[in-house]
């Protein structure tokens, strides 16, 4: 379903970014980058609110003509950004949430790996496979 999945670190540099192999991959990257502003905006809007699952999920960040961008932030300010194709009509909010949840779980697993240094690029195969399943789902 997702055409692009990105994991952004707290310092707003990408830990992991992966797109459906198309020629417009750069466009996806750019979209993810621009969405960071929206994410920050939402994060600041949340303010002192207790961070919970609902607030972790930022929802639709901004839609474009072809794509929709969803955001999700973790407690450690690690952001997940997902770009989905607008033509997917059956993509419901719950599904996006579940996808983010899976992302979060996989990310946690990666974090648990003692060989992973926080801040490194995520090179976990399990993570990759999980993202692949997410990206293939819709196709």
């Amino acid at each position: 379903m997702a055409v692009c999945v990105a994991v952004i670190a707290k310092e707003n540099y990408p830990l992991y970014i992966r797109s459906v192999p198309t020629e417009s991959e750069l466009k996806f990257h750019y979209m993810v980058h621009t969405s960071l502003d929206v994410v920050d905006e939402k994060i600041s809007a949340m303010g002192k609110a207790l961070v919970d699952q609902r607030e972790l999920y930022l929802g639709l960040l901004y839609p474009t003509e072809d794509y929709k961008v969803y955001g999700y932030v973790t407690n450690s300010k690690v952001k997940f950004v997902m770009v989905v194709d607008s033509s997917n009509t059956a993509l419901r909010d719950n599904e996006i949430r579940s996808m983010f949840r899976k992302l979060h779980n996989s990310y946690t697993d990666v974090m648990c790996n003692p060989f992973y240094n926080p801040g490194d690029r995520i090179q976990s195969r399990a993570f990759d496979s999980m993202v692949t399943t997410m990206m293939i789902q819709v196709c």
Partner: protein, 795 residues
Amino acid sequence: MEGLTLSDAEQKYYSDLFSYCDIESTKKVAANGRVLELFRAAQLPNDVVLQIMELCGATRLGYFGRSQFYIALKLVAVAQSGFPLRVESINTVKDLPLPRFVASKNEQESRPATSYSSDSENQGSYSGVIPPPPGRGQVKKGSVSHDTVQARTSTDQQEPASPVVSPQQSPPTSPHTWRKHSRHPSGGNSERSHAGPGPFWSPFGEAQSGSSAGDAVWSGHSPPPPQENWVSFADTPPTSTLLTMHPASVQDQTTVRTVASATTANEIRRQSSSYDDPWKITDEQRQYYVNQFKTIQPDLNGFIPGSSAKEFFTKSKLPILELSHIWELSDFDKDGALTLDEFCAAFHLVVARKNGYDLPEKLPESLMPKLIDLEDSADVGDQPGEVGYSGSPAEAPPSKSPSMPSLNQTWPELNQSSEQWETFSERSSSSQTLTQFDSNIAPADPDTAIVHPVPIRMTPSKIHMQEMELKRTGSDHTNPTSPLLVKTSDLSEENKINSSVKFASANTVDGYSSSDSFTSDPEQIGNNVTRQRSHSGTSPDHTAPPPPPPRPQPSHSRSSSLDMNRTFSVTTGQQQAGVVAHPPAVPPRPQPSQTSGPIVHRPVDADGLMTHTSTSPQQIPEQPNFADFSQFEVFAASNVNEEQDDEAEKHSEVLPVEKPSDPASSLRVAKTDSKIEEKTAASTPANVSKGTTPLAPPPKPVRRRLKSEDELRPDVDEHTQKTGVLAAVLASQPSIPRSVGKDKKAIQASIRRNKETNTVLARLNSELQQQLKDVLEERISLEVQLEQLRPFSHL
């Protein structure tokens, strides 16, 4: 070494072995592959092998020269012979058999080692000596220390150094073991148990090829890598290795030694990663892993935190990425810590990777931490210890299957708190108990199963019950049709028919069956009318609680016919038993007058109230047959339950009681056959002719039988039996129809009633069929809806 005198055979044998081991033809057999394998094949304890190696001087030299090799072989023979290993024993022990390098102990001399796998042991122990080769200078020290260490280890933790040393020792074994295992299909833990009584050379040849392959791999992989690694490992903590060798410094260098030993073990292990079953952990490997685990985490039930595990595995010099992947694979519960099983799996993967195996994408089954059961591949020795692990928190999740998906599902829920681990371990046991309980509970109580009322055979009791029902129904409603109709509507078609038939039969038999004892006497006939009522009213009293109406009375497809039969039988019952015994076709014709009442009554029974009245009069005359009916019932029951042969017998019994039996028989017949209507109708005319009464029964039974077969297939047996009974009874009875006139009227009335009953039943049948169709249509529509909805459910 002392001079070694070898016999010719020994000489030859030893030279062959040396040649085999001396792959490099350097006249110096390094303590690698073949030699170790060979020594393993000797099936000697590790300490013995160490001793041998020490004695032969290989440890000192760091390699097996020819002389050392020969001495070693000799010592092997000595050891295998049971003699104490001493340098002197080489020459002192005379007539020593050739060293046997076989799995089986009782190998012939000429065929030493058949079990190649046993070489692994030797290898293991030997590899303790191996370290020397790569780095001679160090090696020697190492070898010496290794020997001492190994000796110590063999002494089993007598010194603080032993724990440190253990890793050193075990690794040597495991890799070789693995290699052996990998090479041999029998692999696994069969090294020791290898039967291989076969000739040494054949397996040796195989092993040779295998080992050569392995050696090739070994040489390909191991020499450079292991040596490099060895060196590297040694280098990384060069002092540590040396230190490890010095027990004195054990305490200070425990960790380092651990690492060093681990690294060495790693290398060795890597070299010997299994080939056939790359992911199977052998016993020695496992033991080694366990020892390594202990070095990091003394508590086998605990787990190694990620940081220490990282540090440990970083020593393996694998790329971080690969280590990360290994961690991902092995950390089953994703808790950032390694339990023993996870640790073993990780270690195994590291070794495999070191040996060039690509890491799998998913954790192999054999490496998966078992939830409750230990790894089957794991050695028995490890199992007891590991049971705790498997039962440990990591494996706690209730599911026993080590399937990752199931575990993964539970993993996210697991926190990293040790408390949870403990709880998990408890849970695991509880889950075990739960499963046990479930299994206990599983067996359903068959007794609880309530048997649905099935068509009752015309056993006496059942017949009575049916009669009761019929009587009740008949008595309850003055209007023969309505109540019975109502009743029939409540019942299934068949049941209705049966019930009606039962009713009819009950009514008719009421007087008869109401008492198994059949105290009815002819006098009762006079009271038939009242009796009929009373029957209906008293039927319940007499008989046991009437069975549920829907008693599929196979024979009662035509209640009316039964009634007719009853009526006829009643009417004729008085006269002759034969009349009563008339098959459903016509109740005792001979007693139409008498059976008028019962006849009226009977139809009601069968069909409903229609024939009720008709049967009632019939019942009166049947009363005298009550006594007979009892007999008849017995007869009928027995007949029903038995073959017709019995019927004949009973028939004879009934014969004495003609009159009573007639109505009984006729009733029975009526009851048993639902087609009595037709038969009665058919038999009526037959019965009318008294003269032909004797003949009537025969045709009636025949007809009945036919009808029963046609209509009540499931109850054919009953019917046939009943018909047979009835037929027999009827046949036995003399002409029944005595009062033709009465019979005629009764017959006609009964016919009418039967017809009405027939129509009613037919209507009911059609209605039920219609309902059935409707229900089926509904079902189809529902199914269609379900299918339509189903596509959406997957979202």
